[in-house]
Amino acid sequence: MPDASSDADGDDAASGAAPSITLPDEALDALLSAVDALDPGDELELGAGGPRLSVGDGGFAVATGDERHAGLDEDELREVASEHAAAVADWYFLDSVAGDHPPRRAFLRWLEYADETEVGERYAALADGVVREWGQLAITVARDDRGERTYEVRNAEEADAPVDDLKRYDDPLDARRLVKFDDDGRYRPLKTAPTLPTGWVFADLGPREAYEAVETIYPATIENWHREREGELDVSHWRETMERQTGIYGVIQTWDRDEGHEHVDWVAEACCADSQCLKRREWEYDEETDLDVDGGDGVFPCREPCSVVVSAARQWTKLEGEQSHTYEIELTPSEVEQIEAIVDAVAEGRTDDIREADVYEGANRYRARFLRAKLFGDRDPFRPVDAPAEDE
């Protein structure tokens, strides 16, 4: 956990003591109700290794390590709870305020390393703010002296930008419009493409709003990440996904002809590399057959070929159904290099980065226009050698 050992909370952190928390009344009230509602024999544990509360005939009980105090009345329980203010505040916020939707709860805990850091250390770091990245998002969690968290969501590329330099939003649903176009104004059909626009910030969100903002920017990513952590991710591999398709997409099934899966490797390399999509591809050719290309390093998983992949695969199925021929064309070695450079520049989305007068770049516009004028001027420079049949 970054910054966990910093002197974030003054003397508390330096001395290793519990951070000072002014426990909100509603936290104590909620705790009391929760303990009161426990079945006999059940315990409510305030964080891993924290105090364990229970209720029985003789009143409330609190156990800490080997120590156990039983027969407490409500006031006494409040008093004991106040001694563990940070743990109570933590329970209140992460369990009660955050609500019981498991993916949301797990995500909010993940954001502040709650499962691997004890509360004192964590609270010290949260006083300064703890940052985690989710795709291209930087999400900062900070706490106030009541233990209540606020969340800030922005593009990680602008992690260090002053808040005032960014346009501020408060309604998570505003994220829909924000992420519809990239910084060049182009429509983003794939929400997890690494083209998240810049210039905005959700500066002060509550836990539910933070979750909603992230789920709006990257839909269903938290749900699927949570399923994966629970060992319940329902992956649908290439074969089953394509076999499910009907209508104009039904044709894709014909692309799989028991001739290996090289074509699907190409699809994954084309569409699913980290440079194209931030999801980590977990689907393979089928249950038994992995693809030969890497699934990427994304924090959230991709559980099946998406609609962009399916649409592209339909087009490739049609194009790859054509017979290949041998063509003859006369090119200089530099022209061969240039053609490779042009394909590479388009595939990497670099064409806009090539400077107007940089004629040393094969994919420079003037260079491409010269090649077109020379080769394609008034003829097709590709001569079929194995003259295809008349039916073409």
């Binding site: 429509y187 839909p219 749900e223 962009v308």
Partner: protein
């Protein structure tokens, strides 16, 4: 908890395609009635495959933002939502009368009330009329006006034409407009000959489409003669052969569509309190005074 999930087509190419879906979801959110309101798309995200897991509710009302019953409502949506045991016969529909049927989603275990498409609900007729009011800016429009409801023909889906005729008939029965016609893009009576079908000097043209896109912003305007080329744009009204044509654009963009979405869910058993009345009030055309 109960959730409303609006499902629609969406687009990889047209950024406006999903706009009406989001707008109507916002309208329903604003009036309450559901603990959660979510949207899912065939071509956008959240996908139909994953939209159900984005809501916490155990009880989910799914309303397709589609014009007619057919391939998407009967095959694609139930399959992608993983509605266990789905059978189109459960709707007992004649092509216009699908209301709802209830299933368990196989991946989430949620109870899903799968509703018929908005386009065939009787309340959709009111949206068409409201669209005419919006485009003319006249809450009482009708007298001296013709109304054309336009859609695909039967080429792609026979139920598409049924929906057009159904609403045209219902508007005609209101006896509000001088003339009402159902016209089609790919069969007779064709929208290309719009002005031949009306005596009225003013005709409101309402395309029965969910979102503005290629058909409503390029095809129909050019076919009708509102413009030579869609890039030139057109006026509202635009004079075509001495007839003033009030081109309304996709009916699905009309705010009152949110009412039809709610009606579908209510018909399926959703308890939305007074949300219906609130939506009808909040989407009303201003009278200007």
């Amino acid at each position: 908890m109960q959730a409303l999930v609006i499902v629609a087509h969406g687009s990889h190419l047209n950024p406006d395609s999903s706009a009406p879906t989001h707008d109507h979801a916002d309208t329903v959110r604003a009036v309450g009635g559901f603990d959660e309101v979510a949207v899912g798309f065939w071509k956008e995200e959240p996908s139909l495959r994953e939209v159900l897991r984005t809501v916490e509710s155990e009880e989910v009302y799914v309303v397709p933002l589609f014009i007619s019953e057919g391939y998407f409502t009967e095959e694609v949506i139930p399959r992608e939502l993983r509605l266990g045991g789905w059978d189109p016969a459960d709707w007992e529909s004649d092509g216009l009368s699908a209301d709802s049927a209830t299933y368990v989603a196989e991946d989430t275990g949620q109870t899903v009330h799968y509703c018929g498409p908005v386009g065939t609900h009787e309340a959709m007729t009111d949206v068409i009329v409201r669209r005419a009011e919006s485009v003319t800016g006249d809450p009482d429009v009708g007298d001296g006006f013709g109304l054309a409801v336009v859609g695909h023909g039967t080429e792609r889906n026979e139920n598409s034409a049924k929906a057009i005729e159904y609403h045209a008939d219902r508007v005609r029965e209101m006896d509000r407009f001088d003339e009402v016609r159902a016209l089609y893009m790919d069969e007779d009576p064709e929208v290309d000959d719009l002005t031949d079908f009306f005596d009225a000097d003013d005709v409101v043209l309402v395309p029965l489409f969910i979102a503005d896109g290629y058909h409503t912003q390029e095809d129909i305007p050019e076919d009708v003669g509102l413009c030579e080329d869609h890039t030139e744009g057109w006026d509202v009204p635009e004079l075509v052969d001495d007839t003033r044509v009030w081109y309304a654009g996709a009916v699905g963009t009309e705010p009152l569509m949110a009412d039809v979405v709610l009606e579908r869910a209510v018909d399926a058993g959703a308890d939305v309190g007074d949300a219906l009345a609130a939506v009808q009030e909040s989407t009303r055309v201003a009278t200007g005074d």
